[in-house]
Amino acid sequence: MIGAAQRYRELLVDLQFQRATAEDSLAQAEEAAFAAELDICWQSMSVAEQEAIERQLADGSLPDAPAALRTEDCAVTEGSWCAPRKAA
């Protein structure tokens, strides 16, 4: 299956968003549907791809982010062509 590893990663993101939308009470049938497709992708991956995903899942590090965005919002009215935020 071409692109199985990428599809697996997309399914994980989609599942996280579905769970968040359902406030962590996603229906069992929907969880099962995700699990089934994840399993198909997993079986289609090479060992190297599986190991890469296992490493990624085990890595609990957070994405690096700037201390502050140094950005503030702007007053914009409907009908205007002005951007809603700018550098502070």
Binding site: L12, P63, D64, A67, L69, T71, E72, G79, W81
Partner: protein, 139 residues
Amino acid sequence: MYLTAHHVVAKTGTPEGINAFLYLHGVPAWRVPPPEIPDQNPGRLVHRNITVTPPGNRVRSYLDVVAPDDAAWTEIRQNFIQFVSHVQRQPLPWEGVVGRCLFRFGLERSLAPQWQRELHQLYLEIQAVDRDPSARHMK
């Protein structure tokens, strides 16, 4: 079309909330997002949901989506999931083009532990501000 949501906080520290904006360009379709959108040409503001009145609030996080005016949410969502799955190991801010859509997401470090919840909340807000997608062309 330019959709953006900002998690903002007043300079005094309260109130805090999410503001969202919908801009249209009158360009129903494109193959790739024009490079001038949104920074040089945000479009015409047609709707906004305000919880903390601008201006001058500090932006703690933002999500930008640029898509053709005729884009359906199924297309935007599919591209958005692809975008997040590609960039989620990279340092923020994230930016990328997937299909006909451009996505940008940034947040301050103090929000990094809950970046997924933050991104999800912003996404829900930009969906909410686009309250009648079928009428975009009439606005």
